[in-house]
């Protein structure tokens, strides 16, 4: 007999997420047989951006998310640079890479320890106070010395992620929400002293990643080996590529590419379509590319259950994130599942941190980090990058020297999307189907699968188009 339950709030994610689960017993195993992923907050950034000076976009779009603001600053800078017809000079590219890298490290550490680890550790007798109680406590959680060691590292990791932001602010001015990302480069002028201080913290972070973070992922993965294959999802990956190694952006530390239906392919963003059959938008908005799409909110639409649209690449569901990037780039292809997402994220933190040391060497004190270009009367641009959580794109246009359209598709839109018009479940929804649930009152297995994607909901809820009044009725 199937049970339908709503799990909400899903905590230890960014933003507002609920999931509706259908749980039944199949072949003697109680498990998820159907899932609906629901984004439950809406602000309307596209409407907010239209009509503004284009140069404000690198700052306003960062406020979409305070965990990955730098990625939005990067995507916005790249889109504006295409629209303005300017390229950041080498120092500017390097500063942006370094501030973005610092935030990657901060975000990945935050994810494993502070968002994710509570699913695996029984902290009874170790941290018997809120916010660590109340909690689910299941027999499979690690206890004893292993648990104590992980909790000790959870506390140490709070300091390490703080230091990662401290490091990023050496060139970024402040974090979250760095003011130095501008169309044309970065405002900061790097000094030898800054490089030295940045490198000092980077060295400590690299030690922590190598000796603690990666080892703790191995500990958890070993204790929960069944999660190598639990939570597989669609098995397709999308990466726009990130961390440009040259000013034209032709070579990246993690390359642009796809893994679709078992083979590696190139990415042409003109192939992206968003579907809305199960999203609260009019049917006429469906099957559109972000550059030319329309949006008419339709909050009472029968059958719809989410404010997130369903982005698809040539009608296939794709997962975004560290596993996608590392898989496409050839750095990690050990498998697809919860543990592989955790490990790929940790190994990516190492890869990025190691590369940052090289970028520090490439900075030239005294060279320009910014190229001025006046605001054009018209223009259009696409900025593609990768946030810690996956593929991020900004599509924008300028008319009469003002923003006349701005569209954003975030990684969590790819991951937490609802079904598309053909009924294909989104990535997290697919990953949840088949997940065992031993105790329906403590569905920690569901949390482990969801958390492995590191969802960021503020990014993923779609934004209305100009002229559309938002009518909001969420099916509860």
């Amino acid at each position: 007999m199937a049970t339908v339950m709503k799990l909400g709030p899903v905590t230890r994610v960014e933003g507002h997420l609920e999931v509706e689960l259908t749980i039944d017993t199949v072949n003697g195993v109680q498990q998820v047989v159907d899932a609906k992923s629901v984004g439950a907050m809406f602000r309307g950034f596209e409407k907010i951006l239209v009509g503004r000076d284009p140069r404000d976009a690198t700052h306003l779009t960062q406020r979409i998310c305070g965990v990955c603001p730098v990625s939005h600053g990067m995507a916005s800078s790249l889109a504006l640079e295409q629209a303005f017809g300017v390229t950041a000079p080498t120092n500017g590219r390097l500063i942006r890479n370094l501030v973005l890298g610092a935030n990657y490290i901060q975000s990945h550490i935050l994810h494993f320890y502070h968002l994710n680890a509570a699913d695996y550790i029984n902290t009874t007798g170790i941290l018997d106070m809120s916010p660590w109680t109340p909690r689910y406590t299941t027999p499979d959680m690690v206890t004893g010395a292993t648990a104590s060691a992980l909790v000790t590292n959870y506390v140490a990791a709070l300091a390490m992620r703080r230091r990662a932001h401290q490091m990023g602010a050496i060139m970024g001015g402040k974090l979250p929400h760095t003011p130095v990302f501008v169309v044309g480069g970065a405002t900061d002028k790097v000094t030898a002293d800054q490089i030295t201080q940045f490198r000092t913290i980077l060295t400590d972070l690299r030690t922590f990643i190598n000796n603690t973070y990666i080892k703790d992922v191995q500990t958890v993965a070993s204790a929960f080996a069944q999660y190598d294959t639990i939570g597989k999802g669609p098995g397709n990956f999308l990466s726009y590529g990130v961390f440009d190694q040259d000013n034209a952006g032709t070579t990246k530390l993690l390359k642009r590419g796809r893994y679709t239906g078992g083979s590696f392919q190139t990415v042409d963003v003109a192939q992206i379509k968003e579907y809305v059959k199960y999203s609260w938008y009019a049917a006429t908005d469906g099957n559109k590319n972000p550059a030319t799409g329309t949006t008419a909110a339709s909050a009472s639409k029968t059958g719809a259950y989410s404010w997130i649209k369903a982005p698809r690449y040539i009608d296939a569901v794709h997962e975004a994130g560290p596993l996608a990037r590392m898989y496409v780039n050839g750095d990690y292809r050990a498998g697809i599942g919860v543990n592989h997402r955790l490990m790929a994220r940790a190994l990516e933190a190492k890869k990025v941190a190691d590369a940052m040391d090289g970028w520090l060497n490439q900075l030239v004190v005294g060279q320009a980090s910014y190229t001025y270009k006046a605001v054009p009367a018209t223009g259009s641009g696409i900025g593609l990058t990768e946030a810690p959580r996956g593929a991020l794109g900004h599509w924008m246009g300028i008319g009469s020297s003002r923003i006349n359209r701005y569209q954003i598709i975030t990684p969590t839109a790819w991951n937490a999307s609802p079904r598309d018009d053909a009924g294909r479940l989104g990535a997290i929804e697919q990953a949840l189907v088949g997940t065992p649930v031993k105790d329906i009152n403590q569905p920690v297995e569901v949390l482990r699968v969801i958390h492995s994607f590191d969802p960021c909901l503020s990014c993923s809820v779609h934004m209305a188009r100009p002229g559309e009044k938002a009518e909001l009725i969420i099916n509860a």
Binding site: R12, M41, S130, H177
Partner: protein
């Protein structure tokens, strides 16, 4: 004379006022608190980017976050930190609400269009309803960040969800402190909580309900480029001042981003913005020690993120204040301007 950035930072510190409660003061506080049990906190997030929470995780000047969570606060619900999910988390929150005796912290603005359905804090419970019911039983309310304090980016024109500030939704029947910033600086909220716990009183607030300890002076008043500040009479509107950009005049004006000098002509809103950023700076690595940088020392003009009219009244960010600006179809805030309520000083022009 060409002011180097090092000179600029030294000049900022020399002008600086006291930064408020010191780390040793908070340590005393923590010792006394450990005996009594922590301050219960319910932290509700609305139309938010979570940047304020991330910023609070960066706290170190007065206390680190682990110190706060273990020794000072009973964080009974926080979306990013709480181990519990679903019904278990809701029960914990609701039990505390019924018991009372907690501080309600609100991050993000509150959407009010369509009876608040732009944000749910748990299935069936809108942020609008939750803020009202949790405010009713709270002993005090802290609006954390500019969105909660004044609407902020969430309420930027045309404000598709009719997002509002905490004050606009629940009024001031309960003690309410606004701690704006985009994001909030961790010291501003941690220091305010520490001050409240040690004195058992609200700190002195300005007319925007911001603690004067942190928001009592403009960014401009402590800025290291201040000796180089040249007001609008020396500038052509919207253009950098080429007449002054020579050592003969003794004024150092930034002509384009990245130049040393006053960035007023590049859109710096420091004269309009109340915050202690020049002295406290951001992302410190050491207790009782300011950070290395802030926006201006990274050659980025201040964009006024602690002010009630952020962002619309500060937009375009790179247009000189005092020039007429409009932003979007729909309502606008008109010209850039300073604090709009009585009691705040006029734009600091000297």
């Amino acid at each position: 004379m060409d002011l180097t950035r090092r000179d600029f930072l030294k000049a900022s510190s020399a002008v600086g006022a006291a930064l408020g409660l010191t780390a040793s003061g908070v340590l005393d506080l923590q010792e006394s608190y450990a005996k009594e049990g922590g301050l219960p906190v319910i932290w509700l997030t609305g139309s938010s980017c979570t940047g304020c929470s991330v910023s609070v995780l960066n706290s170190i000047y007065y206390a680190t976050i682990d110190n706060l969570l273990i020794n000072t606060l009973d964080m009974e619900y926080h979306t990013q930190l709480s181990a519990a999910a679903g019904a278990l988390a809701v029960k914990a929150m609701e039990d505390r609400r019924k018991a009372g005796g907690y501080a309600l912290v609100v991050e993000g603005a509150i959407p009010t269009a369509d009876t608040g359905k732009g944000c749910y804090v748990w299935p069936g419970m809108t942020m609008l309803s939750a803020v009202k019911s949790y405010a009713a039983n709270a002993t005090m309310i802290i609006a954390c960040g500019t969105c909660a304090s004044f609407g902020g980016v969430a309420a930027a024109a045309p404000n598709p969800t009719a997002a509002k500030s905490v004050q606009a939704v629940v009024g001031t029947a309960k003690p309410l402190i606004n701690i704006p910033g985009c994001p909030v600086h961790p010291d501003w909220i941690v220091g305010t909580i520490a001050s409240y716990l040690s004195t058992k009183k609200l700190p002195t607030l300005d007319s925007n309900r911001r603690p004067t300890a942190y928001y009592g002076a403009t960014v401009h008043s402590a800025c290291g480029w201040r000796t180089q500040y040249v007001g609008p009479s020396h500038h052509s509107k919207g253009k950098p001042c080429t007449t002054c950009h020579s050592s003969n005049m003794g004024h150092i004006i930034a002509g384009v981003l990245g130049d040393s000098g006053c960035m007023y002509g590049l859109g710096c809103k420091g004269p309009l913005t109340y915050a202690d950023c020049p002295n406290r700076r951001w992302n410190s690595g050491t207790a009782n020690t300011p950070g290395m940088h802030w926006c201006v020392s990274a050659y980025a003009p201040c964009n006024g993120c602690t002010q009630p009219n952020f962002p619309d009244g500060m937009s375009p960010f790179y247009a000189m204040s005092g020039t007429a600006t409009t932003n979007t179809g729909g309502t606008t805030s008109g010209t850039t301007s300073g604090g709009t309520t009585s009691g705040d000083r006029e734009r600091d022009d000297d």
